[in-house]
Amino acid sequence: MNDLAIPARVLRGSAAARRARYSTIKMWVGGVCAGIVVLPVVFARVLPLPDPVRGALRETSLPPLSAGHLLGTDPNGRDLLSRILHGGQTSLLIGVLAIIVSGLIGVLAGAAAGYFGGWVDAAVSRLQEAQMSLPLLLMLLLVVALFGSSVPIITLVIAVAQWPEPARLTRALVLVEREKPYVAAARVLGLRRVEILARHIIPNVLSQVLVVVLLLLAQAVLLESALSFLGAGVQRPYPTWGGIIADGRELFVTGEWWLVTLPGAAIALLVLGVNLFGDGLRDRVRRAKAVQA
């Protein structure tokens, strides 16, 4: 190995190699953080947990690490871990549905705006600008407070709040992509424009957009928790994370600190995991694209 112009040791220490290593670290740490929260939430119904709704009257306000209640109980004797895991199902469901909807709207609107230009582009851009100038949280609260807090409404509200970001990115990427020779070749072959866009251009930009959509999951979970903290969250069948915190907000003064800190820690851990994973993935996708180009 010593006859190489650049020894492996030096190569390993180079900025590019370090960046690659750091993005791997981020993805692993992020994946583990998110997994710690997601897996128990997904399997909440299978796990041997006390009932999240009916509490034991003799076991009220137990601190964490009590016998049978890992994270303690609330003043109604309900097991906090069970509430967090069951409530988390709704939080996660809303988050995932919201990014699917916002991703779909964003990719379609952004791709159309970038590829067709003209009035389509103008319409999409104006719509984005109009939305940016609205007070976001206020409008979300308004809609939810007025139209009720069901899973579809909250999902839709979050999706509408989030579509501009994937749309902007898709538009920018498509603008670059449509000038490439293969698009011209496809047109010469007589493919219709919609076909070129759907079958050739969108698949080529999708990997970069999907990373951003994944990162939106973090935002969606935070937004949902904020809404339900303010009392505009889904209440059935179980309160979501923000709702559990709102329930406990009067109680930390009397010493029951775990009722607000632990559900929040679950949110923070999940969001941190998604953000780290997405950040590492973004570095990696960007590098792969750079190598391709």
Partner: protein
């Protein structure tokens, strides 16, 4: 320049009209009757009708909208249902608290995130920077109400250093401000890092370095000078967003600002008060945006306001 200002003001007016109309329509479309909240308990239908007539809710919707716009042009948003005095006055009473909090937060954010971001850009891809980088990701991952409660539990309940809620003394602002700042520092410092790494890698830096310009001037004079526009824009946007977006922190700390007011107004369906809050915050946000745009030519002599292709 004058033409630019006129266009901008016209656009802003359009945004204001769009917003108040959207809110108006949403409020009227929503199920639920505000009169129930303001009639005596167990009201008869005659009592409910009386309340509706008092608030003008018995009129047809188009009629209500025209009356509303007419009054709006004269600067009158109507009387708050719950406070029984002009809604605008109620909001303006609370506004100084929100502005104080937002100002304090944005100043702290700028003072910390700019040096932090520059440091991260200069040390990009080292082990130390990775640590700080992950720290900033953590900063944007924590729900702000959760940060607020953790700070409250540690510093107000257990240590007793700061008052737990409301606005009682100057020290009251510390914890709410700290809560807001965590997220803002994370966002802005990452932006600064991104902009600075691009600029520090630009050829003109190499040329200037070869000419013997000191590293400090390279960083702050050359690279940061060219990163200033996006950073100032982001600070302005964040500040504008805070004027209507510190709702959660205000609720957590019972800060007597606009955010706390609007949550209450939504619950009680106080239509004029909701309208007044939205109107005031949108107008303020638009003013901040305009001021930031007017700063552009000062930061970059190439910028001519009102001409396309700014960069």
């Amino acid at each position: 320049m004058r033409r630019y200002l006129i266009t901008r003001l016209a656009q802003s007016l359009l945004t204001v009209w769009f917003t108040v109309t959207a809110v108006f329509v949403l409020l009227r479309l929503a199920p639920g009757d505000p009169a129930v909240n303001y009639a005596p308990p167990n009201p008869t239908s005659a009592q409910l009708d009386a309340v509706r007539a008092q608030f003008g809710l018995d009129q047809p919707m188009a009629q209500q909208y025209l009356t509303f716009l007419g009054h709006l042009l004269r600067g009158d948003i109507g009387e708050s249902f719950q406070f029984r005095r002009p809604a605008l006055d109620v909001v303006l009473d609370r506004l100084p608290y929100t502005i104080t909090l937002a100002m304090a937060a944005i100043v702290v954010t700028a003072l910390i995130s700019v040096p932090l971001g520059v440091w991260m850009a200069r040390r990009a891809d080292t082990a130390k920077e990775l640590g700080v980088n992950i720290g900033t990701i953590a900063g944007q991952s924590m729900p702000d109400f959760w940060i607020g409660f953790v700070l409250l539990i540690i510093f107000a309940v257990n240590l007793g250093w700061f008052p737990p809620s409301g606005f009682t003394s100057g020290a009251s602002i510390v914890l709410p401000c700290l809560t807001i700042v965590v997220l803002q520092i994370a966002l802005i410092s990452r932006l600064v890092r991104r902009e600075m790494t691009v600029n520090l890698a630009a050829p003109y830096i190499g040329v200037a370095r070869a000419r013997g310009v000191s590293e400090r001037r390279l960083t702050w004079g050359y690279a940061f000078g060219n990163s200033a526009i996006p950073v100032v824009t982001a600070l302005g946007t964040r500040f504008a967003a805070m004027l209507n977006g510190v709702v959660i922190v205000e609720v957590v700390f019972r800060w007597p600002g606009v955010g706390e007011l609007v949550v209450d107004a939504l619950k009680r369906r106080d239509f004029p008060l909701i309208q007044a809050t939205v109107l005031v915050t949108v107008v303020l946000a638009l003013i901040v945006q305009l001021l930031v745009d007017l700063l552009y030519p000062l930061m970059d002599p190439r910028v001519r306001l009102g001409q396309e292709a700014r960069r």
